[in-house]
């Protein structure tokens, strides 16, 4: 059975990746699973300088979902390269680095530094809803998004470039098209949906940041629809993210048009989710008599 999928020039041994911000820098999961088994590890968003993140409370639970406003806390490029990347390099798994900046120049510097270190891929976080100065304007402004992507594209040679899209739009296909036209090798979607919860006893937002991003099974139907729309609008591969809890959900995304999927919130509930999903996909394909996983990508039938 062949689980291999291709995202741009990257060959993944299976379509199961981790979603940025939910898998730390990989180390946190090494005691639970064999990291070699993953298609790719996408690490927590990295900025040029370390960021301390938002004050607590940073998370809360909602029906079949959770809100987070971590505020992009990260150790910064330098410490990432010095302390975290060497560890990840030990595994036979692709390493994709999620990056975020305030300006196009920030993104370019990050991308170049990471290409120099030969990471396997770069995922542009243009869509994180939690910090005002951050990538968010790129994620909702088509022109800016195009300029950002082509800027980064030109500044790096062959490293895989993925653009991660913002779900809060009525025309995801247009953003997908811009990513493709500006030189993105793939798109990933969706990031969390901006949301909010209030503690009605004390009349305060449950998050110190007031709003946060909704993730988990609650958003999966929205994510599947967006992946379906985006994958019909572009030729580059689409990576499906949002509420994948098990292999059935992963298969749903792939039938909708995703070439690979990322597992986020599920890792918190069950740190073995990713490998259980890989096993589950294999079992499903066996049951269905399918030898090559690419046969299910976008295989949705109509009427």
């Amino acid at each position: 059975m062949d689980l291999t999928v291709h995202i741009g020039n990257l060959k993944l041994k299976n379509p199961v990746m981790t979603a940025s911000g939910t898998f730390g820098y990989g180390e946190e999961y090494s005691e639970f699973i064999n990291l070699n088994r993953l298609g790719a590890i996408v690490v927590k968003g990295i900025s040029l300088e370390p960021m301390e993140g938002n004050p607590p409370p940073r998370i809360c639970e909602t029906p079949c979902g959770m809100l987070n406003a971590i505020g992009l806390q990260n150790i910064g490029l330098k410490r990432f390269l010095g302390e975290k990347l060497p560890y990840l390099r030990k595994f036979n798994t692709k390493v994709i680095v999620n990056i975020l900046g305030n300006t196009i120049r920030d993104y370019i510097r990050l991308a170049q530094a990471l290409e120099d270190e030969r990471v396997d891929g770069i995922e542009l976080n243009v869509s994180c809803p939690n910090v005002k100065k951050g990538g968010i304007i790129f994620g909702t402004d088509k022109k800016m998004l195009g300029r950002l992507i082509s800027g980064v594209r030109k500044s790096i040679k062959k490293t895989l470039l993925i653009t991660k899209l913002f779900p809060n739009t009525s025309n995801i296909h247009e953003f997908a098209k811009i990513a493709e036209d500006s030189g993105s090798d793939a798109i990933s979607l969706i990031n969390t949906i901006p949301a909010m919860a209030i503690d009605i006893e004390i009349w305060r937002p449950k998050l110190a940041n007031i709003t946060g991003g909704l993730s988990g099974p609650a958003i999966r139907p929205v994510a599947v629809r967006m992946v379906w729309e985006a994958s019909r609008a572009v030729k580059i591969p689409v990576i499906g993210i949002g509420g994948t809890m098990n292999s059935d959900d992963a298969i749903e995304f792939m039938l909708a048009g995703a070439t690979a999927i990322q597992v986020g919130t599920a890792n918190f509930l069950n740190p073995k989710s990713t490998v259980e999903i890989i096993d589950g996909i294999e079992k499903y394909l066996k049951k269905k008599g399918i030898n090559n996983i690419v046969d299910i990508i976008g295989a949705l039938c109509y009427a």
């Binding site: 911000g21 998370i59 806390q73 919130t265």
Partner: protein
């Protein structure tokens, strides 16, 4: 020996109107916990509630792990329905527990409400020179009173309304103890877990008297093992994860 494992519910006994004693038996080989560590417990098998819930372990017997929990919201309400024989997923032991008191120190342990669970795991390990304080609003909310009596250290029980033990708060008893053995006060070492108001009061007292110690803190958690950065608390060294660097922090490092 994975920290993610399945466990069987041995029993789930109501201790009072709000709290239960839950006994779980790991179905796989599991690590032994250190005092102050905690576990993430799966509360149901649907996605609502979604996340596991963190609980300090109360006691570790040769085969089982015990927890003391209070029903607070929908997760703990579901836990009340755990039935003998049911199998659930849990993660642990997690976090960094209480450092042992160095020789010559007098440990003063304070467990407010369900905070006694975390404190008890330490109390059991201390053979002498220890005071254990447990307080609650009223008699019905006290926990593990019998177990406290069996400890080697000296234990004090108090209720806000005086319905059992001394009338007053753990903080008042703490003050008395510190006054009584005042000559040695800097050789006291405080360990506390409980409601925020209690910890803030203890923290003030400790600062006033120049006494060191450790608090076990709570914060909302998604993962419990350091991956989500959701459980940050402010310390003098910046944000720290309650689930990894904590839940136990030196009192003087906590920024309230």
């Amino acid at each position: 020996m994975s920290r993610y494992f399945r466990a069987k519910v041995v029993s789930n006994l109501p201790l009072n109107k709000k709290s239960n004693l839950l006994t779980l038996r790991p179905l796989e080989r599991a690590k032994n916990p250190e005092p102050g560590q905690f576990y993430m417990i799966e509360v149901g098998n649907s996605y609502d509630p979604l996340l596991k819930r963190p609980f300090s372990y109360f006691r570790k017997t040769s085969e089982d792990i015990q927890f003391l929990y209070a029903v607070r919201g929908k997760g703990t309400l579901l836990m009340k329905d755990f039935m003998e024989g049911e199998i659930i997923n849990i993660i642990g032991p997690l976090g960094t527990g209480y450092p042992k008191p160095s020789r010559g120190y007098i440990a003063v342990l304070i467990g407010g409400g369900t905070g006694i669970a975390s404190i008890f795991s330490l109390a059991e390990r201390l053979t002498k020179n220890a005071y254990i304080l447990h307080g609650a609003k009223c008699r019905e909310e006290l926990l593990a009173v019998n177990e406290l009596k069996s400890l080697k250290g000296e234990s004090f029980i108090c209720t806000d309304d005086g319905s059992f033990g001394e009338k007053g708060t753990t903080v008042e008893i703490l003050e008395e103890i510190l006054t009584q053995n005042s000559r040695l006060k800097t050789q006291n070492l405080i360990y506390a877990c409980g409601p925020r108001a209690m910890l803030e009061a203890v923290s003030k007292l400790a600062a006033d008297k120049g006494i060191k110690g450790y608090f076990s803190l709570v914060e909302y958690m998604a993962c419990g093992f350091g991956a989500c950065l959701g459980c940050a608390v402010k310390t003098v060294h910046g944000y720290k994860r309650v689930c990894k660097e904590g839940p136990v922090f030196p009192i003087e490092e906590i920024v309230w």
